[in-house]
């Protein structure tokens, strides 16, 4: 479904990603793990269209999207839940969610809104509350819900567990499973390798802007170096 081919991304003159290639098949949950600053967020942002690569190509459903802007990609079915959530803090929860479906022309927006409220009951409770007044975990759920409102085919999650209490993290990952069951492909980026391992069908490991390793989680975790670096031996 998604093919990232040999992309190079630079911040000015500083290289952020060097010759990164990966792919995500439909229906999968794929995880990209690595330490802080490895380039995981940059990868997601490049796929989402927030950053343009200097070299390389990105293909989505056999279509070259490398030159497309972020809003075009949303319309094609790619949605990003960004690091730092980036919800509209001056708008209400409901307004935020409705905006998620901004580009949709179909009639099923109300139905999807119901589905989101079922996935995240707390959002139903706070429907008219101004988003900026909610807690971090609630905002994360809102960002999640908003991305889902666009009926994405591919959902990009940037560090979904970052800064959240363990119980909340568990809830989030339960939702991730439910979303996969609904037929949405997921590509997530995580520092929390444990959680990622539990849901992912396939894993990539990134270090300093380059891919170090890839494979099925069990295989990847068997590697001694990886175990030491990420699981503390």
């Amino acid at each position: 479904m998604l093919e990232v081919e040999h992309i190079h991304v630079y911040y000015g003159v500083i290289p952020a990603l060097l010759d990164v290639s990966l792919s995500v098949d439909e229906g999968q949950i794929v995880a990209l793990v690595g330490a802080n600053g490895a380039g995981k967020s940059t990868t997601l942002k490049t796929i989402a269209g927030v950053i343009r690569p200097r070299e390389g190509q990105i293909r989505f459903q056999d279509r070259d999207i490398t030159r497309l802007g972020a809003d075009r990609r949303v319309r094609l079915g790619i949605a990003l839940v960004p690091e730092g959530r980036q919800i509209f803090s001056t708008l209400s929860v409901k307004e935020n969610l409705v905006l998620g479906a901004y580009h949709r022309r179909d009639q099923e927006v109300k139905k999807d809104l119901e589905w989101i409220y079922n996935l995240f009951p707390i959002l139903r409770e706070r429907m008219h509350q101004v988003a900026g007044t909610m807690s971090g975990g609630e905002q994360q759920m809102l960002a999640f819900g908003r991305a889902l409102m666009s009926r994405p085919k591919l959902l990009l999650l940037d560090e979904p567990s970052l800064g959240l209490a363990p119980l909340v993290v568990r809830d989030i990952y339960e939702v991730i499973q439910k979303i996969r069951e609904a037929g949405i492909t997921i590509f997530l980026v995580e520092q929390n390798v444990n959680m990622a391992m539990r849901v992912a069908d396939y894993m990539y490991v990134m270090e300093a802007g380059q891919l170090k390793m890839e494979g099925v989680p069990q295989e990847v975790m068997r590697d001694e170096d990886i175990k030491r670096a990420y699981l503390g031996g």
């Binding site: 802007g69 809003d71 949303v74 509209f88 307004e95 666009s150």
Partner: protein
């Protein structure tokens, strides 16, 4: 000397002036909220609107509603062109670049109008029904004053509804908060910005008509102070807040009128200076304005 009637008279004048400032501030803040651009050219749109009406109604003799519509149309189109040709390329760049460019565009438009009209001011004769004198309890006003206040309030209500209830309006508020997040939900930012320009400019144009109708005279340079005062109104009301802009406009109109009305006669010329003293006071004492939202000043 300061009788009840006098005070009421000043309040009314302040209200009328305030309505016009509120409209101008509204038109300006819609764009400012998204682009952080003080559009000095906004003032030129006021002039353009006034002259368009003048041309269509007084020179061509077309009916009043048509002339108003023409004014709105010219304003909207000009606004769209400004965005497309002038500002789009500079978006995402340093703010001061936009400011300088908007100054350049203002000078361009002002002098184009000066060139096409003449440097002399024109007598502005709106439809007779607007000129009718009324008198309520000793306070004198004309129909045009009522027209201005009523139409302004209607426009503001319409705008509030647009921004609260329609998808596009909500999208505009969202884009004003974060352009990047807006893109992430699939909002076509160019489209939203264009709408903001068109709406804001159309409102500016109609305000030009109002201004001419109220003061009976239009000239090629009438727009500049209007544009700058619109920014002052936005600051007073609170940058980034649409209701704030409107409130700021009313406050500014009232303060300016009351100050001139109650200070000794020699101070009438100081009206512009008073506006800026108010601005500087607000910036120093309460930079976030009345409806203040946080923004680094």
């Amino acid at each position: 000397m300061f009788t009840g009637t006098y005070i009421a008279q000043q309040l009314l004048n302040g209200l009328v002036l305030g309505s016009m400032y509120a409209l101008l501030a509204l038109g300006m803040t819609v764009v400012y909220g998204i682009l952080r651009l003080i559009n000095f050219a906004h003032g030129a749109l006021v002039t353009a609107g006034a002259f368009t009406f003048f041309g269509i109604y007084m020179l061509l003799g077309w009916p009043f509603p048509l002339a108003l519509a023409a004014s709105l149309l010219v304003g909207g189109v000009l606004g769209y062109l400004l965005d497309l040709v002038g500002y789009r390329k500079l978006r995402g760049g340093p703010e001061v670049a936009l400011l300088i460019t908007s100054l350049g565009i203002y000078i361009l438009l002002e002098n184009l109008i000066k060139l096409l009209a003449t440097p002399q001011p024109y007598a502005f004769r709106p439809p007779a029904f607007l000129g009718q004198l009324q008198n309520v309890g000793g306070v004198a006003f004309r129909t045009v004053d009522v027209f201005i206040v009523v139409v302004s309030v209607l426009i503001m209500i319409a705008f509030a509804l647009f921004v609260k209830r329609t998808k596009l309006g909500i999208a505009m508020r969202a884009t004003a908060e974060s352009v990047e997040a807006a893109k992430l939900v699939g909002i076509n930012v160019n489209q939203v910005v264009a709408v903001a320009f068109v709406l804001g400019s159309a409102v500016a144009a109609i305000t030009g008509f109002m201004w001419g109708a109220k003061y009976g005279q239009i000239s090629y340079d009438m727009g500049f102070m209007a544009g700058v005062k619109a920014f002052v109104a936005i600051v007073i009301g609170g940058i980034g807040s649409i209701p704030g802009a409107m409130i700021g406009g009313f406050v500014l109109g009232l303060v300016e009128t009351l100050a001139v009305g109650f200070l000794p006669p020699g101070f009438a010329e100081y009206r512009d200076a008073i506006v800026f003293v108010l601005l500087i006071l607000v910036l120093l004492l309460k930079p976030t304005g009345i409806m203040g939202r946080k923004e680094a000043v």
